[in-house]
Subunit: 129 residues, 2 copies
DNA sequence: CTGCATGTACTAATAGTACAAGTACAATAT
DNA sequence: ATATTGTACTTGTACTATTAGTACATGCAG
């Protein structure tokens, strides 16, 4: 498995990790049960902070793409391929694009949309993260 | 026309101006052709910076609610009432809330939603702003 | 028990962004 | 000339997200 990280990209590093690991799973480069490098190992290999890797892992765990087994390490989830199938990121982008386009057509300015979005995300916060 | 600005509110001042001017148009307090105070005049009356007022005017011009006639001043647009759907803000908030709720239900984290939103707004930018 | 590796939680530094303010400018009427 | 219109450019501040540094709980190996 080859991970390529571009720290100058506007896409956050932890997101790049998520995307590439998901890709590796769908491509078959990573199979259920396979062990992943530890957060520190991978961080060391890629010259990143281990918390950045941990953040990516955390998200993948939430999506049931990988599974943390405490001191034993982290492994590809049994249903990884299934849970990777629909790329959440793509869905989110698509759905949001759709809505934003409609809002613009009704005459809303970007500023208005941004403000409304910010308020919504601030007021009704999701637990966890 | 009575404008009330609350600088401690989380809603930006220029947005409050936009909302209230649109409100005045839909209520009939301001009619097409009516002259608006100059950016400096209004800023002085409300103890604001003239650029803050200018920003609000800029948005309203973009929405064809008002019309800048250069040195002659700024006036209510002929189709102001039509272009000034006061419910716009409510619609925007409602539509966005709806979409965000769906995305959360599919398992997307706030972080993912924020990133996707930011990218969309950055990439497919509206003119002006 | 000691030492080491695992994931995780908490805090600090940095970068990016939005709002607002200060200044300066082009255009035009008086 | 002077004043007034809207506008452009730059700066300071506050807020947020990302990333990094440190410390901790758990459990294996010797």
């Amino acid at each position: 498995m080859e991970l390529i990280i571009n720290t100058t990209d506007s896409v956050p590093v932890f997101s790049q990790l998520i995307d590439q690991i998901k890709n590796a799973v769908t491509n078959g480069d990573l199979s259920p049960g396979d062990a992943l490098p530890s957060v520190r190992q991978l961080a060391n290999d890629l010259n990143l902070n281990h918390n950045t890797v941990a953040k990516a892992y955390k998200h993948l765990i939430r999506d049931s793409v990988i599974q943390a087994k405490g001191y034993r390490g982290t492994f590809i989830h049994i249903d990884a391929k299934l849970n990777c199938n629909f790329d959440l990121n793509t869905v989110v982008t698509f759905k949001l694009s759709e809505t934003i386009q409609i809002l613009r057509q009704t005459g809303a300015t970007d500023s208005e949309i941004r403000i409304a979005f910010g308020n919504i995300m601030k007021i009704q916060q999701n637990s966890g993260e």
